[in-house]
């Protein structure tokens, strides 16, 4: 941005170069589902504004990519599903409106696991994205495309969504910063719902500072979303370099125990603890007893909500081409929904089962109670600690096809991240190490609406590491 301001190059030049770069690398990486063909036009408009000394928004034409489950008027929003192949959004989400009003340029829509259900982007109906650090490995998910687009320098920042780790997981796997804000901090108006009681839109960026910058623009109460809360116009950039001297950090025992982590991740974690201590923080083990139940609770709650949120995709009002003549109602819908991908189908079945009359007590209601008890635990723990830490993902990026066949081992990849979603607290993944060419991120969590200090901690950690550039 400073470069634009200092006239080192124009917005148009930058955008053109970005598009060129995307052209070069995206065939392999497949971060994008769609490029915005109005990007250059928009860039020219912003250049004209700059030239004529008009007020320019804070983004100065910055190219930002957006996950394809966030609506932008006039543009396709497929959620990486065949079922929404032809769906063109008739309105724009609040977050994109806010970015537009700050003169950001949405350069394209990024790939994801279908309907945000997954953690490797392998479940996209349009083909997976590839990890720029190792093309045979997954980039993480569900916001895989977003992670890749930032890591591979195809754009400056991206907006992803996080329901169980979908921003932080790809951030860790792609070695970028990924923030899941407090539930309610960022408007969900325009985010295609998967599990609406816990999901949030959040930034994925190269640096912590950039995430704070974006958060300033997209956060705040929205009359179009009654679940948003007032953050009283916090400035997340203010004092971001304050450091963490004297802060108390809790190392979540259940998320850092050696059984669950790969050796390299365990190493990196222990290293980060030393780093935190060098920065002046006091680190101590802390136990969250509900954590071992969180994956089961998470999948139970999210399948229930997903089962309901995705019921509208019956191809009657919008979707894709399929003539209903000759079909009877139930068979048409079943036929239409047969285009849903395998993971989505499984969640639909689970979502029909766990809240049903005969089984709700055992599954759904129990899961809600686990959620409650976990929230109480978290509230208690944050009386003593300022932050909680863990490795973002227990393992490093795995190869395509490696996890996809074992459902339980697959679910466990989320083990460290779902707690923040279930409790609503903010959590950030900071790139920490590259081991054997594969990234490892450290997760920091703080109490509700404490993003300001969370970003300070993330910034402090980030400044201690000097990571290599992503391979060309």
């Amino acid at each position: 941005m400073n470069c634009i301001k200092n006239n080192e190059f124009t917005v148009e030049e930058f955008i053109a170069e970005s598009l060129e770069h995307i052209n070069k690398v995206d065939e392999k990486l497949h971060a994008f589902l769609r490029i915005n063909d109005l990007a250059i036009k928009k860039a020219k408009e912003i250049d004209a504004k700059i030239k004529s000394n008009q007020n320019v928004g804070r983004c100065y034409g910055m190219p930002i990519s957006v996950k394809d489950n966030i609506c932008m008027e006039g543009s396709k929003t497929t959620c990486a599903s065949k079922v929404l192949e032809n769906f063109i959004a008739p309105y724009t989400s609040t977050v994109i409106s806010k970015l537009h009003s700050e003169d950001a340029i949405i350069i394209g829509k990024t790939n994801l696991d279908e309907f945000a259900m997954g953690l490797s982007t392998e479940f996209s109906a349009y083909g997976p994205s590839r990890n720029p650090w190792n093309n045979d490995c997954v980039p993480g998910g569900s916001s895989g495309g977003s992670g890749v687009s930032v890591a591979a320098n195809e754009c400056i920042a991206s907006l992803g969504s996080d329901t169980g780790g979908s921003i932080r997981n790809p951030a860790s796997f792609c070695s970028v910063v990924g923030l899941k804000p407090t539930y309610g901090l960022v408007s969900r108006y325009g985010l295609v719902s998967y599990a609406n009681s816990i999901e949030q839109i959040g930034p994925m960026t190269k640096t912590v500072e950039d995430s704070a910058f974006l958060l300033n623009m997209i956060s705040g109460i929205d009359p179009n979303d009654n679940t948003t809360i007032d953050n009283k116009n916090q400035d997340y950039l203010n004092n971001i370099d304050a450091g963490i001297n004297g802060k108390k950090i809790g190392i979540v025992t259940e998320m850092t125990n050696s059984d669950g982590l790969s050796a390299d991740v365990l190493d990196a974690t222990n290293d980060s603890i030393k780093t935190f201590e060098k920065l002046g923080a006091n680190c101590e083990q802390v136990s969250l007893q509900m954590v071992p139940y969180t994956v089961a609770a998470y999948y139970t709650i999210t399948s229930t909500e997903a089962g309901s949120n995705l019921a509208r995709y019956d191809n009657v009002r919008y979707g894709y081409e399929l003539d209903s003549s000759g079909f009877e109602f139930n068979s048409y819908i079943s036929q239409a929904r047969s285009k849903l991908g395998p993971e989505v189908i499984r969640r639909m079945i689970l979502g029909g089962f766990v809240p049903s009359a005969g089984h709700a007590g055992k599954y759904f209601l129990k899961a809600l109670k686990v959620k409650s008890k976990l929230i109480n635990e978290i509230n208690y723990v944050f009386k003593k600690f300022d932050f909680l830490i863990s490795p973002t993902v227990p393992i490093q990026p795995f190869k395509f096809g490696e996890k996809i066949n074992d459902p339980v081992s697959f679910m466990m990849v989320d083990f460290n991240t779902v707690t923040a979603n279930l409790t609503g607290i903010p959590a950030i993944s900071v790139p920490y190490k590259i081991t054997n060419g594969l990234p490892i991120g450290i997760q920091i969590m703080s109490n509700h609406l404490e993003e300001h200090s969370l970003l300070q901690a993330a910034y402090a950690l980030e400044k201690t590491v000097d990571l290599p550039e992503v391979p060309a």
Binding site: A297, S338, M348, F353, K366, P407, V408
Partner: protein, 91 residues
């Protein structure tokens, strides 16, 4: 240990969710495995917990105002004779 949830029940649920399971018997197996994993909830000891809720004051709600949607929404949807939405036949 509980038996795996039976296939018939899962097929019934699939019908309820309008999911056609004709060629997807491996879905059933995977779903069974996932449900088996969920049994862990039984040992969570949460019987007495209340659920947590989010609250809002009545005066923060939307005012009762008619604001016509100024775009022709029907154009974005599948329409019949540009007036209705066509649904498949009902029994």
């Amino acid at each position: 240990m509980d038996n795996l949830v039976n296939e018939e029940e899962i097929s019934e649920v699939a019908k309820l969710m309008k999911i056609d399971l004709k060629d997807h018997s491996d879905h059933i197996k995977r779903v069974q495995k996932m449900l088996e994993y969920f049994d862990i909830l039984d040992s969570a000891n949460v019987e007495s917990e209340e659920i947590t809720i989010q609250e809002i004051d009545l005066d923060k709600l939307r005012n009762d105002e008619h604001i016509p949607y100024n775009k022709n929404l029907l154009k974005f949807l599948k329409s019949y004779k540009e007036k209705y939405v066509k649904a498949p036949k009902l029994n």
